[in-house]
């Protein structure tokens, strides 16, 4: 396959993985997170540290998921007592903390990051790995959606107090959502680090967190298919129109406002209404 297309497919798949993971936390369970890039970064750094030390890639992959998951549980625990705006600010703070920490660490390469990360496969192999990761998280998302866990997430997202009155341990389920979502981000991070082969702190900043959130919202918050559609669209848009890349924040910000006003359930909502209209 064309080298450009291979690389494009890889990045689309990585973003799909990230968006599906965040959709578990924010879409299904209703816990707004503005710090998702931190878990992506934690996974990237953990995997890079492991493989640059000469250990096998599989170990790096596991380390990435474990690190991101543990960090996710910690942030989840810190977030249990806060809701909505306060939760958004807490997760945003966690993102900044991560960045501030990584930038000052000699052993993580400081501002210059970690270079010389050797990929386990060639570009096509990495593309297949990225797509496989996305499919795995997609399958997990579908499993959650169809199980009692999905039902309980929905109840918590709609009305936490009512959910707890029904005998649901909301804290435990919110932590489960954070764990699943952040482990997915860690997986994406490991793949990303070995695709770009050089990771720097700035790749995991606030803008990245907002980009992932925009993918989920534009696609249709709370829908697996929406997260996939949003991630594909927002990855391809800057590729097709260069100006989008230059004015990324402006375009994403505008898209977020537009979607919230015109179709709060995103692209999936629009598609659903169109289908409904056609059937009628």
């Amino acid at each position: 396959m064309d080298a450009y297309l291979t690389s494009l497919l890889t990045f689309v798949a990585i973003n799909v993985t990230l968006a599906l993971g965040l959709n578990l936390i924010t879409g299904f369970c209703g816990q707004v997170s503005l710090g998702h890039a931190a878990f992506f970064g934690a996974g990237a750094y953990a995997a890079a540290l492991v493989t640059t030390a000469g250990h096998p890639f599989a170990l790096g992959l596991l380390a990435a998921m474990a690190t991101a998951g543990v960090l996710g549980l910690v942030v989840g625990l810190a977030s249990l007592r806060v809701r909505e705006d306060f939760l958004a600010i807490t997760t945003m703070g966690a993102g900044f903390l991560f960045l501030g920490f990584v930038r000052k660490q000699e052993w993580l390469g400081g501002e210059f990051g970690i270079p010389g990360i050797r990929p386990p496969f060639g570009p096509e192999g990495m593309a297949i790995l990225a797509v496989a990761s996305a499919l795995l998280v997609w399958a997990a998302g579908i499993a959650v959606r169809r199980s009692w866990m999905g039902r309980i997430f929905l109840a918590i997202a709609r009305d936490e107090e009512a959910a707890s009155s029904l005998g649901i341990d909301t804290a435990r389920f919110k932590l489960a959502a954070f764990l699943l979502g952040t482990v997915s981000a860690g997986l994406a991070g490991a793949v990303y680090a070995h695709v770009v082969q050089l990771i720097v702190p700035d790749a995991f900043g606030f803008i990245q967190s907002i980009t992932i959130l925009a993918m989920v919202v534009v696609g249709g918050i709370g829908s697996n298919l929406g997260a996939v559609a949003g991630a594909v669209l927002l990855t391809l848009l800057p590729e097709m129109f260069r100006f989008v890349d230059t004015y990324k924040l402006l375009v994403y910000g505008g898209l977020l406002i537009l979607v919230m006003h015109l179709s709060p359930d995103g692209l999936v909502g629009i598609a659903r209404r169109l289908l409904g209209a056609v059937r009628r």
Binding site: A143, V144, R146, S147, W148, M149, R151, I152, L154, A155, R158, D159, E161, A162, A163, S164, S165, L166, G167, I168, D169, T170, R172, F173, L175, A176
Partner: protein
């Protein structure tokens, strides 16, 4: 042994004492009406009982065990279940799906089991039976956003029943309903009580409470003023003075 035993429970918000050393026991099979003027502390007492508020002092025992420090979901797991005054449906779900969520109690403490269990559709028949039991089977497929308040009030009772309650705490289930609807829900509660459910009811519709409750407790300014058989309580001069504003 009492099913619910509230002992010397207090709760203040800022300088306002909402519940002041209230002691109250509910026997298995009881149907207790909790009445009192606005601001008497009824809703706070109910929220303390189900764990949505923590008391400043005193203890709450349910089925012989101290639940004072347990969070609401742990109390609900044991069968101490509240229905809220303002109905809180999951609006975009059908009534069946709303009621179905009551059965989530079974998985409420175990995310792994919840993830491993797909078969919630199998429980649909149970949820529909509960909707029939509260008399709204015809609305099963409608979303909560589409149906009137009276139907939602019944749905909320069905959803609470789906959790398998041993004691149902009802916060103004008749509020906002017209006389016919209120009477119908009153009859429904009587039927549930006859079937063996223990009920505690807060209600401003005094006529309906007097018709259906078997015992009354009166709160005034956070304190328990009287408790006993409805007629005896309503004859109590202190109750008439405080609650009805009559000169005794």
């Amino acid at each position: 042994m009492s099913l619910l035993e509230i002992r010397e429970v207090s709760r203040a918000f800022g300088g306002v004492v909402a519940v002041d050393r209230v002691s109250l026991a509910v026997e298995p099979g009881a149907f207790l009406g909790l009445i009192g003027p606005n601001g008497a502390g009824k809703t706070t007492l109910l929220r303390l009982t189900c764990g949505l508020e923590r008391p400043d002092g005193g203890s709450i025992r349910f089925d012989g065990r101290d639940v004072t420090r347990l969070p609401p979901h742990r109390r609900a797991q044991r069968g101490l279940v509240l229905t809220h005054q303002v109905v809180r449906p999951f609006r975009d779900l059908t009534l069946t799906d709303n009621v179905l969520l009551g059965a989530a109690r079974e998985f409420g403490r175990d995310p792994l089991r919840a993830l491993a269990t797909f078969a919630y559709r199998d429980r649909r028949a149970e949820a529909e039976a509960l909707l029939a039991r509260v008399g709204i089977a015809d609305f099963a497929g409608r979303t909560a956003a589409e149906v009137p308040l009276g139907i939602l009030k019944r749905m909320q009772i069905a959803r609470a029943l789906a959790t398998g309650p041993r004691l149902l705490l009802l916060d103004e289930p008749l509020a906002g309903l017209n006389q016919t609807e209120a009477r119908a829900i009153g009859d429904l509660l009587t039927r549930l009580h006859d079937e063996g459910l223990t009920l505690v009811l807060i209600e401003h519709n005094l006529a309906e409470v007097l018709r259906i409750a078997r015992r009354l407790a009166v709160l005034d300014r956070g304190r328990l003023l009287a408790e006993g058989e409805p007629e005896a309580v309503m004859r109590d001069p202190a109750v008439r003075r405080a609650y009805l504003g009559e000169a005794a």
